[in-house]
């Protein structure tokens, strides 16, 4: 019997969560789960909370089983998972900041997203008067001649805000520590009580570059909760949008990574192709980023002939131009000199953190939700999950290059097989609970939702893939020079708003 099944058997069904079960467990079982995570027998998909309960979503890679374990926390504490499994540490710190639940024996008691500036503490649990904004205690790095460099939250370029604290010996980075939370808008709190319509708009703004992925994950979770399936045409149109979003982001990233290695030519060319994707998306769906086009029950707005023609022209354009750019990347030795061997993520870390997307796939972890936890219509589509082993910036560029090719092929397949029919299903007003995982351009996006039966959300949770990628950046930069940090950082392109929420 699988490790996860044994844990499930020790608990009691807590709710009718679909398609994966949620079981109530006691503290002993919760600890056993944390132990199993620490031994690498299970994968942590997410760890989140409510005012008096903690939840962890787990996956057993041996048999593909997925389940949520829930622990009631009447005394506002729960046994720390991070103590046994480091990927849980930031999630626990967030739970503490938002809900006031104390992870017992946690290795890092510092706040994470509460900077002492909100109008109240523990805003989603048992609100208390605000604390004081105290200096953050960065981890120490000691040694002769070490110096610190503080970067952010306002950066030189147009990127999201976050703080990076470097400890360096000359040019060489000894330690970098991230501090995030600057773009915490209180999204999780706003989801509670929102109508489905409002909630999917909020989900679509968790991270703007992944608006399609988030709206899709949330909609699929809500549909699972309601026991509804979106009509076939809507399912295929959603996949079309998701692949267009992946194309736009990967093209932007390939250009931006090369630009951070001072190779602006690639940025110029990729920027033009990215713009073409956004224009085709606008022509097809009425919005350049396709915001608010996916909703529970289906999609808003059908694809007409001119929209289809715009996407076909786009596939043709990228198909003609992209091979030259790939050759340019491959043939430019000065560029390869910057990307090969830089910012290496060890395969063991990628596995331990269950890093998704190009970060994991460039370090040998060939996980892709579309293949490993498949959802329609991907079972009916042909594509390869491309992985590399070297774990460096170069590998992350190549995974993106291969995924551009795969997405182009997928868009072609979807257009040629797009079924006819309705694009929106009616939603019953019933209570329920559901979870979904979808593959965004960064990796697996998780959404969980509980509906109250009156058409509103009582609780919702969104988990960005970057939760399990950001910490690997800290490891990957060690021993590199500070000047290569922007390059490494761009090759990860982790979400800020998506994790800060």
């Amino acid at each position: 019997m699988s490790a996860l099944q044994q844990l499930i058997d020790r608990g009691e069904a807590a709710s009718d969560c679909r398609p994966w079960p949620r079981v109530a467990v006691d503290r002993t079982t919760w600890r056993k789960a944390a132990d199993a995570l620490g031994r690498g027998e299970l994968v942590l998909l997410d760890l989140w909370a409510e005012p008096a309960a903690a939840h962890m979503a787990l996956r057993d890679e041996a048999d593909g089983l997925v389940a949520i374990l829930s622990l009631a926390c009447p005394r506002r504490t729960f046994p720390s998972v991070g103590r046994h499994h480091p990927p849980a540490i930031r999630l626990e710190r967030t739970i503490h900041d938002l809900y006031g639940l104390e992870p017992e024996g946690a290795p890092d008691p510092r706040p994470w997203i509460d900077h002492g500036r909100w109008t109240e503490r523990r805003p989603l649990g048992h609100p208390a008067p605000p604390g004081r904004a105290e200096p953050y205690r960065f981890l120490a790095a000691e040694g002769e001649g070490l110096h610190q460099v503080a970067v952010g939250p306002v950066h030189a370029g147009i990127i999201e805000p976050g703080h990076f604290r470097f400890s360096a010996a000359g040019e060489t980075v000894v330690r970098v520590e991230q501090r995030l939370g600057y773009v915490h808008r209180g999204l999780e709190g706003r989801m509670a009580g929102a109508t489905l319509d409002q909630a999917v708009r909020l989900a679509g703004r968790a991270s703007g570059d992944s608006t399609v992925a988030y709206a899709l994950a949330f909609s699929r979770a809500a549909e699972a909760a309601l026991g509804v399936e979106a009509p076939a045409r809507a399912v295929w149109l959603r996949a079309l949008m998701a692949e267009l979003e992946r194309l736009a982001n990967h093209l932007g990233d390939i250009g931006a990574i090369c630009n951070d290695a001072a190779f602006a030519l690639m940025l110029a060319h990729c920027g033009v192709l990215r713009e073409a994707v956004l224009r085709a998306s606008h022509a097809a769906f009425g919005h350049r980023l396709m915001m608010d086009k996916i909703a529970p029950g289906g999609v808003r707005g059908d694809l007409d002939e001119s929209g289809e023609a715009a996407i076909r022209a786009l596939v043709d354009l990228i198909g003609r131009r992209f091979p030259d750019l790939v050759a340019l990347y491959d043939d430019t030795a000065s560029l390869q000199d910057r990307t090969v061997g830089t910012g290496v993520v060890a395969a063991g870390l990628a596995r331990q953190f269950a890093a998704g997307g190009y970060v994991g796939r460039a370090a040998g972890r060939a996980f892709d939700t579309r293949r490993n936890l498949p959802y329609a219509p991907y079972e009916a589509l042909e594509f390869d999950v491309v992985a590399r082993d070297s774990g460096d910036v170069n590998a992350r560029v190549w995974v993106r290059i291969e995924e551009v090719r795969q997405s182009l092929a997928l868009v072609g397949q979807i257009l040629s097989r797009l079924p006819a029919g309705p694009i929106r299903a009616d939603l019953p007003a019933c209570a329920g609970e559901g979870m979904a995982l979808v593959e965004g351009f960064r990796g697996d996006v998780l959404a969980w939702v509980r509906l109250d039966g009156g058409g509103a959300v009582s609780r919702a949770r969104l988990r960005d893939p970057s939760w399990f990628q950001w910490p690997l950046l800290e490891a990957a930069i060690e021993g590199n020079i500070i000047a290569d940090f922007p390059l490494c950082n761009k090759s990860f392109n982790c979400a800020y708003a998506g994790v800060d929420l």
């Binding site: 997203i113 900077h115 500036r117 909100w118 109008t119 109240e120 805003p123 609100p127 939250p153 306002v154 030189a156 370029g157 147009i158 990127i159 999201e160 805000p161 939370g181 600057y182 773009v183 915490h184 808008r185 209180g186 999204l187 709190g189 706003r190 409002q198 708009r201 909020l202 703004r205 968790a206 991270s207 703007g208 570059d209 608006t211 932007g252 030519l265 110029a268 060319h269 920027g271 033009v272 990215r274 713009e275 956004l278 350049r288 980023l289 915001m291 030259d324 050759a327 340019l328 043939d331 430019t332 979400a495 800020y496 708003a497």
Partner: protein, 181 residues
């Protein structure tokens, strides 16, 4: 393809850059009138812009970045995105001004030399958007800084952004008003 071949091809291909959009909005016209003519003379043909993300979902950043691609080519108008607030004339703010970013935003503004303008880009910065109120956000940019222009949209398109920014120069669509001295 080799780099020289790609570069040579680029020389003979027709430009991708599109003509400038004309400002049309009443709001923008009002701003153009309000922008002090003397200050504009002093600034000559160029404006330097510093962008601060104060809680955006990054949608606005994607479109602001798109302004630098070959299609919109922001710099042909003398508009330049700069790294340091010390070099900036215009502060572009995105996001519902999270309380965790408020001080960084205020300090960025304080570091800019006058005369200076503040432009709120996107629904969140322009009016709080979906995230107005609550324990974590201050609200639109005008709750923290004196605001000169709003460019709404979720996110505003690059064309809408160009129209708005060009309005800072006045109604001339070329965005260029030669220095008169």
């Amino acid at each position: 393809m080799s780099m020289p071949k790609l570069l040579i091809e680029g020389l003979f291909r027709s430009p991708l850059t599109e003509t400038a959009p004309a400002p049309e909005d009443a709001d923008l016209a009002a701003l153009a009138a309000a922008a002090d003519a003397a200050a504009r003379r002093r600034l000559g043909r160029s404006l330097s812009i510093r962008v601060v993300d104060a809680g955006s979902c990054n949608g606005c950043e994607l479109e602001l970045n798109a302004l630098s691609n070959a299609v919109y080519d922001l710099e042909r108008f003398g508009l330049r995105l700069v790294a340091s607030p010390r070099h900036a004339d215009v502060l572009v703010v995105t996001g519902p001004v999270t309380l965790n970013m408020r001080e960084a935003l205020e300090r960025t503004y304080a570091a800019m030399p006058g005369p200076k303008w503040v432009v709120a880009v996107g629904d969140c910065a322009a009016m709080g958007g979906l995230f107005a109120g609550g324990y974590a956000c201050a609200g639109g940019a005008d709750s923290v800084l004196p605001l000169d222009l709003r460019i709404p949209g979720c996110p505003p398109t690059p064309t809408a952004l160009l129209k708005g920014l060009l309005a800072l120069f006045g109604s001339d669509p070329k965005g260029v008003r030669a220095s008169t001295d």
